[in-house]
Amino acid sequence: MEENLAQVTTLPGFGRALKTEEMVINMGPQHPSTHGVLRLELVVDGEVVIDVIPQLGYLHRCFEKHCEHMTNYQQVIPYADRLDYVAAMSNEFGFVVAMERLLKIKVPERVEYIRVIMAEFSRIVSHLIALGTYGMDIGAFTPFLYCMRDREHVLDIFEETCGARLLYNYMWIGGLSHDVQPNFTEKVKSFCKYFRPKITELNDLLSYNKIFIKRTANVGVLPGDVALNYAVSGPVLRGSGVKWDLRKNDPYSVYDRLEFEIPVGRGLRGTVGDCWDRYMVRVHEMEQSVNIIEQAVDKLPSGDVQSALPKRIRPDAGDIYARTETPKGELGYYIVSDGTATPFRVKVKSPCFVNLSALPAMCRGAMIADVVAILGSIDIVLGEVDR
């Protein structure tokens, strides 16, 4: 009798709310939209997420330990490629910028301009994948294939230059591994002409689609000051309204001679710092990258790309922290040298690692479908998160 009474008095209408239990669901490590092997533990109450606990380490490949056993600093570069395997040129760029500052080497102008062109191509490639897979997470399958189709053109240019489509070992300390082919300028210009209308097509198909906006606007809002405390960088930070881009604020290579704009999220369709802002920042960055490439290829001087390659790389004892703006954010290399040819310590501060740490802050109170949208808008590549 007491038992029945207890059961009855927990029904609604008796002044005591129905007790619901929190459920712990596991997303991953194998899951179509965690962009790699990432495990997310979701503590949910029905469809509302109470907490998200990312579990990393499934792709840890001991990059930093490997570096301490190399015989030569040049050997680090193929491994650096494989950090963010989607935009490999940017990783190499970060490493060679750091090493050239440590060694106080000045590379020829031609090398600088080609590096900038390759880095901007890798930015376009990375954003195409980010936007395509983001559309797929939201449910639109077609933009993914359009992005892949456009990406193939860039990969063809990469293949002609250095022989590889995805992982290049192209930027060496002090120069490049190969000079570009004679038809490089025309190929680049024709790609730029081909690609600008494709951005418009992507906007028509996905960016301004009402359903897409409903799924992404006002979802996963990250305020600017919280973003800075979490040290997020890249499109995630710019989507939150903070106008900070290392190419303009802490320039390296020849970025200070090129004109481009920094897109910032303004909350046009929702709040500042929601998923739609981060997505649109990436779309606009692709447009700006095309501008940069066109300017750089016009200014490309002649020269020998291998004239400054050092015969022996033995930096003085000391350390340096150098950062570059990759498509994912601020990639930092903290390189400590003990005076020998083997690196003493190479620490990679990976933007995806830091951006992912802000995921719980963005997901409080969201629904499960929103967690997928928020994760996609951060744009992580597990190779970089886990190194």
Partner: protein, 342 residues
């Protein structure tokens, strides 16, 4: 056709069984064809080619090859799954989808059962699918399947209301539940006899409401939350493999064609030829009916590969706060019109 068969066989139960199996003659080849067609349509919309090799010309035998492969697969049932429900669920889903075909007239000469409450029967029997989906999700003993099943149940049940209201508008105009009778009332040239052009714009709006709500009924994008591939792996049918999966897949396509067929019958004249008497007759009627059904299937596939999917609460919002008010407006409008015209 019933009379023809009874004269031939003189055995009523056998005749009725055969009549019940006739739509299967369409549904199974249709499902095989539709899977191939969907792959080709999606491929061409995505700027790629799709199946090209199996069987020679554009890979037409791809689905047949897939079915042969699925038949040979090991039948895996998760050890902590509820065996009876797990095995029973695909059959119930298929029964719910297939039972609707009993009352859909394929041609002037063939309808499974000419009952005078045909539409009412169809709407109620196709809700059986919800029971099957819930069984599939629950019996899989997988939290993600359970999520998919719960979402699916909520979605289908909510969208029954706009479907019923849109269909109610047509019933008010035609005055009967019997689908074969509705077909006969739309004989003649397509304009102004087909119901989509009558009582403008109310029945046109009713068509839109019915089509959108039926997309939710069959779990197609933008309402494919229950099987949202990128969130729930495969939703309620994650744990199903081999022939059980093939059966669930078959019932999804059967359901798609059923709602397309109803849309074609209610609004676009069913088996009537658009040109009045020209190109009409029992066999031409079959052709027109199938062609109209396939056009709706094409539109459903087109939408799937173009639009993103709605989140669950947005989906509920669209169903309850957008479609239902419009459907009520249509019913009231058509009601007044019909009364005023009398």
């Amino acid at each position: 056709m019933k009379e023809f068969l009874i004269d031939l066989l003189h055995n009523a139960p056998v005749v009725y069984t055969l009549m019940a199996l006739v739509p299967l003659l369409w549904v199974i080849p249709f499902a095989l064809f539709a899977v191939w067609w969907e792959r080709k349509i999606s491929a061409h919309m995505q700027d790629r080619l799709g199946p090209m090799r199996t069987g020679g010309w554009h890979g037409w035998a791809q689905t047949i090859a897939d079915i042969l492969k699925l038949i040979q697969k090991e039948d895996i049932i998760p050890s902590s799954a509820d065996r009876k429900l797990f095995i029973l669920a695909p059959y119930i889903v298929f029964a719910g989808s297939y039972a609707a075909y009993a009352a859909i007239p394929f041609s002037a000469a063939y309808v499974g059962s000419e009952i005078n409450i045909g539409l009412f029967y169809i709407i109620s029997i196709s809700s059986l699918v919800v029971v099957g989906l819930l069984m599939a999700g629950w019996a899989s003993n997988n939290k993600w399947s359970l999520f998919g099943a719960m979402r699916s149940a909520a979605q289908i049940v909510s969208y029954e209301v706009p479907v019923a209201l849109a269909v109610l508008a047509v019933i008010m105009v035609s005055g009967t539940f019997d689908l074969q009778e509705i077909n006969r009332l739309q004989a003649g040239w397509f304009f102004p006899n087909w119901y989509v052009f009558q009582k403008p714009p109310f029945l046109f709006v009713a068509l839109i409401i019915y089509f959108v709500a039926s997309l939710a009924e069959v779990n197609r994008t933008p309402f494919d939350i229950p099987e949202a591939e990128s969130e729930l792996v495969a939703g309620y049918h994650t744990e199903y493999g081999g022939m059980r999966f093939a059966l669930l897949f078959l019932s999804e396509y059967a359901n798609m064609f059923a709602v397309s067929a109803i849309a074609a019958t209610l609004f676009f004249g069913g088996w009537n030829s658009p040109f009045g008497d020209f190109l009409s007759g029992p066999y031409w009627g079959l052709f027109w009916f199938l062609a109209k059904g396939m056009t709706f299937i094409f539109v459903q596939m087109w939408l799937r590969w173009t639009l993103p999917r709605l989140r669950v609460d947005q989906l509920m919002y669209v169903g309850w706060k957008v479609l239902i008010p419009f459907a009520f407006a249509v019913v009231i409008g058509v009601g007044f019109w019909v009364v005023a015209a009398r």
